[in-house]
């Protein structure tokens, strides 16, 4: 069962990419399907986020360090990460407004490192938050496929 979840997740990411490849190569993003393409791009991002949040949940060495590397980027967010460009400009006198305990990475992880807060946060996102959003978008996606004249065919 664990295997099917793991390989299914990998296969999902690959399938979504190949679907995007097909849609581009057939020019099926062009009007009137341009709105559905945008929905699809957002779902691509959500798929990656679902996979990313799920990556942490086995709570093994691979999980914690992959998320450490991945979430480490957020500390370099311009203005909002404590090692990002411009963050040191945001200060009141001598008090920095952006530091390691209130920046973009802290918001993502619920802590300044990948710990219990991050595990809880990713669990809720993976099992409740993101599935709800992507479920709604999937419904919209399929509805638009039908409304806009079928999948990747000539109009």
């Amino acid at each position: 069962m664990r295997e099917m979840h793991r390989w299914g997740a990998h296969a999902m990411v690959i399938t979504v990419w190949l679907h995007m490849f097909r849609v581009f190569m057939t020019g099926s993003y062009k009007p009137p399907r341009e709105f559905n393409w945008s929905v699809g791009v957002i779902m691509l991002v959500l798929t990656l986020l679902l996979s990313f949040t799920g990556y942490l949940l086995p709570w093994d060495q691979l999980a914690i360090w992959a998320i450490t590397v991945g979430s480490g980027m957020a500390r370099a967010t311009p203005f909002l990460g404590h090692e990002g460009p411009g963050a040191s400009l945001l200060r009141l006198g001598d008090v920095p407004l952006i530091h390691a305990y209130d920046d973009a990475r802290f918001a993502l992880l619920g802590g300044s490192f990948v710990g219990e807060g991050a595990l809880l946060r990713f669990y809720v996102l993976h099992c409740v938050g993101l599935p709800l959003v992507i479920g709604v978008l999937m419904a919209v996606h399929f509805w638009r496929v039908r409304k806009d004249g079928g999948i990747s065919g000539p109009l």
Binding site: I14, L18, F52, Q61, I64, A76
Partner: protein
């Protein structure tokens, strides 16, 4: 055998790997009439299969390729090779039909079916097939579970999830604020922008190359060469300390790579002008800042007056600047790669004082 392995190890160095990927893309597009034949397709997949089968006789190759989490990426290589070939083939066949005055094949052979029973039936079969594949895959390959998470023990190399390895590979050339935040954001924005800046009404809903030459070339470059091939590079060819290792090379943790990367400011002030680095960061980095401003703001305008005049006229100013701006952002990666490989350039603008490095 040793010679062949050595040759492949040498050919997969990042510079050559990327160069070969670009050459392959150019060949596929230039010789597409030839690529479209079935023989080439079989040869491509067969060659890949033979390479992987023969490769697994080598211990180091087997170690990295049969790692359970890397198996899907091997699958991705095969699937991607097949679908690139397939879409080029369909495009060439359609272009021939269109040139001969028939419409695209998709229009002639409508695949419209009734939802019940035809579509539901097909979906059921697909569902069962996918489940069977997944179950068989899961029976033969166990999902790895490593030691419990331990913040005090950092594995080397520490890799992000595989689908982000293209971004991690970009960290070699860019600072995290660009490679990890700004450029991924621009990828998402850019993808959403595609239908709104692409004004070409042709090629809607069928494979074609002749009607959409520029779009397809740019997309294949961005998706296959920049995104997917960097993921393959990051998965299979990056080892301890993010050093490069050939596919048949042992992951030696003590491998040393000479890194003598130099900032643009040092090239200008120290090597060319012979003075020391100015203490004021603005004066120190003025050349880099001018270069970046030129690339981002002046180059699109110059192109609009020169090379891309026809595009500018066709798209209109807002669409043109969005499209060319995004395209130049995409090209900034290969530009920076080339600058690194040719001149050992570290940063064009290096304002460490504000974590602002480009």
């Amino acid at each position: 055998m040793g010679v062949v392995k050595g040759l492949i190890n040498a050919l997969t160095r990042p510079e050559l790997f990327f160069g070969l990927a670009v050459v392959a893309l150019v060949l596929v597009i230039w010789k597409r009439e030839w690529v479209a034949s079935n023989t080439v397709g079989y040869a491509l997949l067969g060659g890949l299969a033979v390479f992987f089968i023969l490769g697994t006789f080598d211990f180091n190759f087997r170690q990295i390729v049969t790692k359970p989490d890397n198996v899907p990426i091997v699958g991705l290589i095969f699937l991607l090779a097949f679908f690139v070939w397939y879409s080029i083939r369909e495009a060439v066949l359609n272009d021939r039909r269109i040139a001969a005055g028939h419409g695209p094949i998709e229009k002639a052979e409508s695949d419209r079916v009734w939802v019940w029973p035809d579509l539901v039936y097909t979906e059921l079969i697909s569902l069962i097939l996918c489940s069977v594949v997944l179950i068989v895959w899961s029976i033969f390959l166990k999902a790895p579970l490593e030691q419990p998470a331990n913040p005090a023990n950092t594995p080397n190399p520490s890799k992000a999830p595989w689908y982000f390895l293209g971004l991690q590979e970009m960290l070699v050339y860019f600072d995290p604020w660009l490679a990890g935040v700004v450029l991924p954001g621009l990828i998402i924005v850019g993808l959403i922008c595609i239908p709104y800046v692409d004004k070409n009404p042709k090629g809607n809903g069928y494979f074609t190359f002749a009607e959409r030459k520029a779009e397809i070339t740019i997309f294949l470059f961005g998706f296959v060469v920049l995104w997917c091939s960097l993921i393959v590079l990051g998965t299979f060819l990056r080892g301890p300390n993010w050093n490069f290792f050939g596919p048949f090379e042992f992951w030696d943790i003590h491998k040393l790579a000479a890194l003598t990367n130099v900032n643009l400011s040092e090239y200008v002030w120290v090597r060319a002008l012979g003075t020391g680095l100015p203490s004021n960061w603005f004066i120190r980095e003025i050349f880099g800042i001018l270069l970046v401003l030129f690339y981002v703001f002046a180059l699109p305008v110059i192109l609009a007056k020169g090379m891309l005049k026809a595009y500018y006229a066709k798209l209109g100013a807002p669409r043109y600047y969005v499209a060319v701006g995004l395209f130049l952002m995409m090209l900034s990666l290969p530009v920076k790669m080339l600058a690194r490989w040719l001149f050992n350039l570290k940063y064009i603008v290096a304002i460490g004082e504000y974590f602002f490095n480009i």
